[in-house]
Amino acid sequence: MTRVSAVRIAVVLPELLGTYGDGGNGIVLEHRLRWRGIAVERIECGDAAALPETADLYLLGGGEDRPQTLAARELRASGAINRAHSRGAVIFAVCAGYQIVGQSFPGAEGDEAGLGLLDVTTTVGAGPRAVGELLIEPDASLGLPLISGFENHQGVTAVGRDARVLGRVLEGVGNGRPERPAERKTDPGAPTEGAVAERVVATYAHGPVLARNPALADWLLAMIVGPLDPLEHEVVAATEELRRERLAATRSRSTRPG
């Protein structure tokens, strides 16, 4: 597959949705294309009203409560992401961004409507804030290796019929469990993490998640440019070291007695 124009990656409202280094996801995707000789343009869009509608991939990251509410309102008013998605763009959303692309989430002033791109609904968890390493076994149909990240959120997200979960939680909290049974649209038995639908992928894992999980990064890119050649760069070995270290650290904790 050959492309004439550069792949355009839009980093959406980074000042509001970038609390946990999520801007790194854009840096990772940009470099993984550039290092393969594929033209790419990374656009940081701080103004929702001027959000481009012709990008190939939109990235949304984590944010504190009020910035999240503000971002959701600005993005609903703009409509650019919804139009871009219906035109074929890919959306990758993390943490607060995950909640925003869903149906609704707990905003600064009660329930706040999301962008409705993903059939998930977020409520406030009754337990303590979910903070710590997150290890995910992706759904087998996705063909991805374990996903490692760090989560920091209070939300509990129910995945509806029109979406499926990204994977199963091996360590951490992930989507959590709704307190009220009525909100459990599906109950797959094991704790789940993230959600996937047509050209929308979302997770609670930051880290940033695409730096720790290059297969996930390349999977997103392949949705846009088709199959990718293996990357030849020092970062491949460095990332393998990082994954070995993180997976060992996370698993040793989850198997520790007590």
């Binding site: 000042e15 990772v28 910035p67 710590g132 760090f150 730096a211 020092e234 460095a238 070291e241 990082l242």
Partner: protein
Amino acid sequence: MKTRLRRLRLVVATALGDAAGWSSRRLGRGSGEVIAGRVIQMVAPDALALRLDGRPIAIVSGTNGKSTTTALLAAAARTRGPVATNDKGANMPAGIVTALGHTAPGATAVLEVDEGYVPALLSAAAIDVLVLLNLSRDQLDRVAEVRKTAERWRQGIAASPATTVVANADDPAVVFAARSSPHVVWVAAGSNWKVDATSCPNCGARIHFDGADWKCTQCDLARPDAQWSITADGGLVVEGRDVGDLPVVLGVPGRHNQTNAVMALAAADAIGISIRTALDAMTSIRAIEGRYDYVWGDSSTARLYLSKNPAGWIEIIELLMQSTRRVLIVINAEIADGKDTSWLWDVPFERLRGRQAIASGRRCHDLAVRLLYADVDVVTEPDLARALDLARADDRDVVANYTAFREVRRALGVAR
């Protein structure tokens, strides 16, 4: 309980705390300041209030620059008499209790205080001056949200109307908290990190930035006019005073330390120390618990830097850019550092593109991956002793985050 009994209890508590601190030092577990303070507070829960009672007190808080600003202000305060200060960096109540015990009861207290404990200090004693430097993301796994800290500051300040607040007019979170005081001295101390202030700390709407000026697009939160500021070439300007562009020349490097010094000068002025006397005293400060030390001795100008969050890193990169020296970076993610390393991606390491860096520390692999995506040339050396040998061999600057900085100093034999 009667005051005499409370004081007697504190004497007993102090003896027990000192013993605990001594044991901790003997076991090589650090300075023992924190454990001593914990024991004292366990036996005498009112220890902090008792030890603060009857002194002039200035406290300094903020995400970055606390230790340096406290050291500068303490130097100024020493021109007038004995000073009690927590210069070992233990900035939570337990460490402060211990530090206060080391000096005469009437000595002026100049204390750096962890952002989370500012309200606790304000309610423990009559604080004369509170210095608020800045507020940005740091250890988000522990603190959760920057704006919650700002709100706690606001409540604590509103309940302490007699305290003079010296506040950075350029940081919206600081202004939001400080303006609940009737006595604020505004300082234009700058802000390199606007990202945590995009949404108004008061109402949640967008903050509009226009050069150095800013205001909320919805409510009345706006940048106040600053009485104290510094010119581009480092001259002090104080509204209504003739200081004749007094040059702020310090023994510690960087524009950010000049603005820290302006904050400290405004605080010194608020407790009655003349500006010139205070500034003269500040120039003697050259390193603060290892920060800015010439890391390989006086024969080299390579320095040791502490940097633990994105806003702090922006200042340090500015200093690194002043030479072409290579760099050793040491990163840990212990509880005191924050367990989450994702902040590394908020640091503009791209500015070091083309330079060679050694990545070390227990999270050297997170760092190495980040640096490679910034097009920095990286050698990964998890073993700190070996990394330091390599760095000494080609005269590198060394930058480390909090617990890594302590380990570097121990490995160099300059700290316990």
